[in-house]
């Protein structure tokens, strides 16, 4: 009896835009997943050769080592300004600013708001893990009330440190942004939604519509002092109630 030929089809593979270099992120950290999603989007949009990535100061400072596109460093908090400079020189390129919560909402608040307000045709990917990861777990602008960190050892007290800042809602008060969505990478379903949001944001930029902002709630098991699985559950139990997921703007 003749053996039937079997056609093998790749069901899943490493995106061409993602380097094979093993990443430096801790087990359970969301950055690796987010890098992969970005790489998939870049592949699917066919923009690997026309994208410039601006990496922040923070754990993802080396993002440009993992995404195989032109890459640029930015001083802490300045990614939107650097991205503005690049985009104004190359309006035809896709410019992505990848930032963490300390970078985007503390030291870089002015750059964040004004790049959004100018409607710079860039895409800001905001990874919110409620802590400063790289420097060892200090309180971030998005650290939750009562959350313990190295610099809020008794728990964040709103009387002392204010409340966590909601970036999407803040930017949603501005006229210029065309796409604002908050998503998460703690479950498979949320990962898939995040990819859709990234695709939408990048498409908005490709189509010349304007500024797009995707906030991604992400895990920092090391900074939070949790097991990876516990951390993923904490996103749902503690972060999502304060930072609700969803599309705030899609013009």
């Amino acid at each position: 009896m003749p053996v039937e030929a079997t056609v093998l089809k790749a069901a899943y593979q490493r995106p061409a835009s993602l380097s094979e270099k093993p990443n430096h992120y801790c087990p359970g950290c969301g950055h690796g997943t987010i890098h992969k999603l970005l790489a998939q989007c870049i592949d699917e949009l066919g923009i690997r050769e026309s994208t410039v990535l601006v990496a922040p100061v923070g754990c993802s400072v080396l993002a440009y080592s993992y995404l195989l596109v032109d890459g640029c460093e930015a001083a802490h908090g300045r990614a939107p300004a650097v991205a503005t400079g690049i985009k104004r020189v190359h309006p035809d390129k896709t410019v992505i600013a990848y930032q963490g919560d300390g970078d985007l909402l503390a030291i870089g608040t002015a750059e964040t708001i004004h790049a959004a307000n100018r409607g710079e045709k860039i895409t800001v990917v905001f990874v919110n893990n409620a802590i400063y990861g790289m420097t060892g777990g200090q309180m971030a602008p998005t650290t939750l009330q009562a959350q313990k960190t190295k610099t809020s050892p008794y728990g964040r007290s709103p009387a002392d440190a204010g409340f966590p800042i909601r970036a999407c809602e803040l930017l949603n008060t501005l006229e210029s942004p065309v796409f604002i969505e908050r998503c998460a990478v703690n479950t498979v379903k949320n990962v898939l939604r995040t990819k859709r949001a990234l695709m939408k944001g990048l498409r908005a930029q490709r189509e010349g519509k304007g500024y797009s902002f995707i906030e991604i709630l992400s895990m920092c098991p090391t900074g939070w002092g949790m097991e990876p699985r516990e951390a993923a559950a904490w996103v749902d139990s503690d972060m999502v109630p304060y930072f609700p997921l969803g599309t705030l703007r899609d013009r």
């Binding site: 890459g71 640029c72 300004a81």
Partner: protein, 351 residues
């Protein structure tokens, strides 16, 4: 023959930058340099360029970082308090070896100080200002014509060495109006295709970064490269001007506006029979030490005149050592030195 135009110093920089091919200007309002961003806001749209009023000096210098990384000729301008804010960005530009032109129309400090011209930022510009071991090329103009010519040269130097060039003027030079002949473009072409961020089309990705974590000696290597570049600049790019120095017994040393006042002092002293001359560093970094040593040799006295408490005088001292008597005459808080005061200091001694 080229026709002359009456221009304000700050505006002359703007037009010269456009002549030099700069199409990306990012700035933030601060007196006494406001005519420059206003000029750029008018002119850039007419030449297909970008004028962007940033949310701060910090944002402006980082926009320059982005535009320079993207391969464009980019510039920003400010005055003393704003320059302090730009220092972070200048350190990053230096570490990433990006070319940029930064104008500082100095005013009185420290702090908010006042809005009169001053020269108190010599140390900041020449000795660092930001963190880490780096240098900017620092050029000190004394006239509107020179501001224009220097701007064209600054863009070439920035591109040639992938370095930040600071044009260190002061509020007076920036605000004065003089007839000038607009400069011609230099015609020099610099190939940035090997490093600029243009999208990795048909090539490996480019990376613009100052961070060096691995291998272990990567940062040491970067610094060695920077230092080698700085030694080459020190060797090749020293600029100075001398006035009546060949037979001088008394030597004035000043930069920018102080030098211009010193030139008048030289004329006054010559008329009264005192053989005085002027040595004027035009590049403050690299400092024209070798030329100064020659000019100062055998002088009865060297008098350094600055609109500060004594900054460049340290570099003069480093150059000439104890070989000649050296004195300092400075004015503070946005006050300009007067010819009489300079002459008195010199002539009192001469008698």
């Amino acid at each position: 023959m080229a026709s002359t135009t009456l221009m304000k110093g700050n505006e002359a920089i703007g037009e010269a930058a456009i002549i030099a091919g700069c199409r990306h200007y990012f700035g933030y309002p601060i007196t006494p340099q406001n005519e420059l961003p206003a000029y750029m806001a008018l002119r850039m749209p007419k030449v297909g360029g970008t004028f962007l009023q940033a949310e701060s000096e910090i944002a402006a210098i980082n926009m320059v970082f982005g535009a320079a990384a993207a391969g464009a000729r980019a510039m920003t301008s400010s005055s003393s308090p704003g320059m302090s804010l730009k220092m972070e960005g200048i350190s990053y530009l230096s570490g990433a070896e990006l070319p940029a032109v930064v104008v500082n129309m100095m005013r009185g400090g420290p702090g908010l100080g006042n809005i009169a011209g001053a020269q108190g930022d010599y140390f900041q510009a020449v000795k660092g200002g930001g963190h880490g071991d780096y240098h900017c090329i620092v050029l000190a103009p004394w006239s509107v014509q020179e501001l224009a010519d220097m701007t064209v040269r600054a863009f070439d130097l920035a591109d040639q060495y992938r370095i930040v060039v600071i044009i260190l003027g002061d509020g007076f030079v920036g605000q004065m109006s003089e007839p000038i002949v607009l400069p011609e473009p230099s015609g020099k072409v610099f190939d940035k295709s090997g490093w600029a961020l243009t999208g990795a089309k048909g090539r490996d990705p480019h990376l613009i970064a100052s961070m060096r974590l691995s291998p272990e000696n990567a940062l040491e290597m970067l610094n060695a490269t920077l230092q080698a570049k700085y030694r080459q600049i020190e060797e090749c790019e020293r600029i100075r001007e001398e006035y009546e120095t060949s037979d001088a017994e008394y030597l004035l040393v000043g930069f920018g506006l102080s030098a211009r006042i010193c030139r008048s002092a030289v004329s006054v002293m010559r008329k009264s029979g005192v053989r005085a001359g002027l040595f004027r560093p035009v590049s403050l970094w690299p400092f024209p030490s070798k030329e100064l040593v020659r000019a100062a040799e055998g002088k009865r006295k060297v008098l350094v005149v600055e609109m500060n408490a004594g900054q460049m005088v340290e570099d003069v001292r480093l150059a000439v050592g104890a070989s000649v008597p050296l004195e300092f005459y400075g004015t503070l808080g946005g006050i300009t030195p007067e010819v009489d005061g300079i002459v008195e200091r010199m002539v009192a001694h001469a008698r």
